[in-house]
């Protein structure tokens, strides 16, 4: 088996530089690559383009990079939980490309699957479709959307093995599998790194072929954004 293990997050982010385009997995704060984000903050790389469904909250997730003005452009579908984001966007400090969530997911998938562009009905007739080619298929209008071209993809998995095979847990899967496919260099941080043979091949979500570097993550906070519960009766 080809060994993908790197020692730590410092080694995993080798080659990361200002001005690059990144993909970062997660939905809200669920399944975000916490260790990689902290390391990006520490390295003070700037002028980044970040493709991620959300932008974290003010003091956690991608919000930490926003606070330090390291992000030049965000490509997301929903950014409602982040006041600093809204402030930077409205003041023009931050470039923002808001795109429909399904289109974002499919553009990530297309990037890794060798599909340069595809047609989707989402956004037809709205400002999302402005300047884009549209076409009628079976009596319904569609918009042409393109793949991305990220230098790095940072994903977070529950378990991974030394060959880079990944298993996600619960709804922390979200964008991680498609982004893992899409990076020129895909970095996977995992809660539990195991030897090859320990994961059931039938249960692998992301085959190791898509992962260039994997490391054992640490100190996961896994913050809950909206704690909603049914009271004990």
């Amino acid at each position: 088996m080809i060994n993908k293990v790197v020692k730590n997050v410092e080694e995993a982010l080798d080659g990361v530089a200002s001005g690059m385009e990144f993909m970062l997995g997660g939905f809200g704060l669920c399944g975000i690559p916490e260790n990689c984000i902290s390391e990006l903050v520490k390295r003070e790389v700037s002028d980044l383009t970040c493709i991620s469904n959300n932008a974290g909250v003010d003091d956690f997730g991608l919000g930490q990079l926003l606070q330090k003005h390291q992000i030049k452009k965000m490509i997301s579908s929903y950014v409602g939980e982040n006041d600093e984001f809204e402030r930077q966007m409205l003041s023009g400090e931050l470039e923002v490309d808001l795109i429909p969530q399904g289109t974002l997911a499919e553009r990530c998938r297309a990037t890794g699957a060798g599909i340069p562009a595809f047609f989707t009905p989402a956004g037809y007739g709205t400002e999302v479709a402005e300047g884009k080619e549209t076409r009628d298929f079976n009596g319904k209008m569609h918009v042409l959307e393109h793949a991305f071209n990220p230098e790095f993809a940072f994903v977070k998995a529950w378990k991974g093995d030394t060959a880079g095979n990944l298993i996600f847990k619960g709804t922390a899967r979200n964008f991680n599998p498609m982004m893992a496919m899409a990076g020129k260099i895909t970095v996977a941080e995992v809660e539990e790194l195991v030897e090859v043979g320990e994961l059931d091949p039938n249960q692998i979500h992301t085959p190791g072929i898509f992962v260039q570097r994997i490391f054992q993550g640490k100190d996961y906070e896994k913050r809950i954004e909206q704690r909603t519960v049914t009271p004990k009766s």
């Binding site: 939905f27 499919e106 007739g125 979200n174 964008f175």
Partner: protein, 217 residues
């Protein structure tokens, strides 16, 4: 006039057996509390969950199990988990029979606006544009008027659109409306609300045919 809970309760009457349903954030989420007896439906959450259950019992919440509103939830027996591309394949591929979502404005041609107020509110469309562009059956849950009393049921939307010509039915605090033939058709009144009150609160073309019954709960 209906409360938000009653709007959800009225929408729940539209559910049919064996439907997969996507509920948006806000009033639509409440629909899950009023599933009619004898009806089996499964709720799809676009962040990658089918068979969504109620909020977890205090102390059992799991950061890795949330809904599209980022709230902690549970998964029912027989549920499944998947990635975002597969989730939107279910939506775009019309495997989900009903979408319920909120709106800031709806126009009589079925246009909907619910994601952006230029220069003021910048949150993003999330999955709403994919949902409205593909769903066969969309019900909008909303208040008939805004806080200043101005109609949100319009001839034309003034806000940036989420989708064009896609809304088929609206349940507001005042009425149930069908959207077709470039008009709103008044189907039912909220208990105690007159046709005249609904007409006054509706800017778009409102068609009233015969006696309009009160909603039944």
């Amino acid at each position: 006039m209906l409360t938000k809970q009653q709007i959800a309760q009225r929408i729940a009457q539209e559910l049919q057996d064996k439907w997969y349903v996507n509920l948006g954030i806000g009033i639509p989420t409440l629909v899950a509390n009023y599933i009619p007896e004898g009806i089996d439906v499964e709720f799809q959450s676009e962040n990658g969950l089918l068979g969504m259950g109620p909020f977890p019992i205090e102390g059992t919440e799991d950061a890795d199990m949330i809904n599209a509103g980022k709230q902690t939830v549970t998964i029912l027996e027989g549920g499944s988990l998947f990635d975002s591309a597969m989730s939107f394949a279910m939506i775009r591929g019309q495997h989900v029979q009903l979408t319920v979502l909120g709106a800031m404005e709806v126009a009589q041609n079925g246009d909907i606006a619910n994601w952006k107020i230029p220069g003021r509110m910048v949150k993003g469309m999330g999955g709403a544009m994919d949902l409205v562009a593909s769903a066969d059956n969309i019900i909008v849950a909303m208040m008939h008027t805004n806080k200043r009393g101005e109609s949100k049921i319009l001839k034309e939307c003034s806000l940036p659109l989420t989708g064009v010509g896609c809304v088929k039915k609206i349940v507001t605090n005042l009425a149930v409306l069908d959207v077709r033939d470039n008009s709103f058709y008044l189907l039912e009144r909220a208990p105690g609300v007159s046709v005249e009150e609904i007409q006054q609160a509706t800017e778009g073309s409102l068609i009233v045919e015969g006696e309009i019954p009160e909603m039944q709960f």
